[in-house]
Symmetry: C2
Subunit: 377 residues, 2 copies
Amino acid sequence: MSSPSSATAPPAAVEQRRPDPVRFGIMGCASIARKLARAMLLAPDAAVAAVGSRSKAKARAFAEETGLLRHAPRLHGSYEALLGDPGVDAVYLPLPTSLHVRWATAAAAAGKHVLLEKPTALCAADLAAILAACDAAGVQFMDATMWMHHPRTAKMRELVADKATTGDVRVINSLFSFRVNEEFLQNDIRVKPDLDALGALGDAGWYCIRAILWAVDYELPKTVIALRNPVRNQVGVLLACGATLYWADGKIATFNCSFLTNLTMDMTIVGTNGTLHVTDFVIPYEEKSASFSMASKSNFAELHIGWDPLPSKHVVPTNLPQEALMVQEFSRLVQNIRDAGGKPEGKWPAITRKTQVVMDAVKTSIDNEFGPVDISS
Amino acid sequence: MSSPSSATAPPAAVEQRRPDPVRFGIMGCASIARKLARAMLLAPDAAVAAVGSRSKAKARAFAEETGLLRHAPRLHGSYEALLGDPGVDAVYLPLPTSLHVRWATAAAAAGKHVLLEKPTALCAADLAAILAACDAAGVQFMDATMWMHHPRTAKMRELVADKATTGDVRVINSLFSFRVNEEFLQNDIRVKPDLDALGALGDAGWYCIRAILWAVDYELPKTVIALRNPVRNQVGVLLACGATLYWADGKIATFNCSFLTNLTMDMTIVGTNGTLHVTDFVIPYEEKSASFSMASKSNFAELHIGWDPLPSKHVVPTNLPQEALMVQEFSRLVQNIRDAGGKPEGKWPAITRKTQVVMDAVKTSIDNEFGPVDISS
């Protein structure tokens, strides 16, 4: 019997019954956690065993609002209490970024697998501490970059990796912006230097950097140069910025991220043989299917009065939303460790680390008046 | 009786009959001239009166191949002879760029209106000489950037200029590449330093720069910085390059142009309120209609599981291909001067000049190791 993901399949002896679901603890009741709560209800291998917040009342309100309450999760009035809950296998951690080092390392030390919101840390050194703690504890680490888990992403990978279809990738552009309101600009954690000091770079820019690294199969760029004229708020947090990334072989990528312009989620990949366009890569327009456009070996029609062939549109349906597929994939990895003596999958922390390293370089280039920053891989 | 383009309408006295067509001379039998010959046959206000080449045999072969011969154009064996033809009102000039100053100024001095292929000149100073000659002779100048004349472009302008729909434009990305073959890399005029020394920048980059300027209603950027690692051939001609343009108010544009990657023609405009995507802006996929996508005031759906509203697709049909519309517009302007004592329309040379000025700045930045180049407007 073959499995599409043999690395994470349980050994033959236990194939008889479905493994027990992974028991999640939701650690912090941020707005994004509502989406994850729903995803955990949808994902077949997950259950929400506990919710932890700074007060039990908050945890209860969250459980009520999200429909978790009827599943009777344990409600904890502190993060420590959640981490002390022996009925929790894994935590989902959507706290402000400045709290990630403290609580992700504490979670790992408590033997909990860690699904961590992005940006995973304020800098690569902080992330290294988190990953070291996960490594030492033998727990799975994954960042909560949902689009990685949509089947569209796998389909795009297949075409981008195919030399006949795409050839060698040479240029990548990514845009992620959304226009926030005055309330956000005043009060959201993502504009506060003590909470999410990376601002738009950490939030929207994370996805752009990930998209670019994804497009080149995670080869780190050699040099990063930030775009000039980033926009900052009065306390110095980035509201819009961008960068260009250069690889030794001549590949070039540019991204812009912003809290100040209309919702835009572009990834464009241009190779020697093909071009891929996706305009909703972070969150698909609709939940049940997602599309992208691929042009391959496009020529001018005779007399240059059109194209031949035309690009094709690929539509990829999905039974579960991408965040539920993320929870499912994470849960499989945790089950493999918990139930089958498997090891943590190293691919996910490696991708996270590279994303954070590039983000550090962008930040450094901005701080150094847009000078080039070399990355040692 | 109102006219959609009142500046170019003939005075009331001659409205009784259709003005005589503009009598074009095609000056040089480049491959692109075949497309223009067809456009002149399609455009209602144009006729091909003459073809000039370096030999009469070449001119005849071109006229035969393009179907012009049955209209019995005069065939000239030199450019001088064409310019001496009193039955020619205007020339279309698709010669290699290095010959533009000489022949466009000669055409103007001979009293011919000038429709000039892009890149219009090797540098802004050369273009200034051409425009001065046209100005002194009182002839119309227009560059042959065809997409400017597609009704899709007018529709996009309407939406981009609308503050409610697009808001303030903040980010523009443009890509234009096409993958050439070995024959092109060895022999095309666009890789020869003595013919089209600007290479991919002059050819594909022209369109990207024009798209960016178009998107900001032709406000010149303050600073231009070329992207690093341009690709050159063995004799130093650019095969791929790019740049980032900065405006004083924070607008940012990036473009990449190349002879080495798959056919790609993107213009993406992100404003505070809206986002426009077009992926075939230079030459529409098909001749009879062209589309673009516009998203305005896009929000995340509840729980961030989709978009609300979705972007809308705009399809703009056209009765004539864009190059015939260009010929028609140019012809109307010439008729207004020839038949109605009108003055040349200054909008077109002004746009050309700005495109060339930005191109100069990109070239200078590349030559100055990617340092910033300021543009004085």
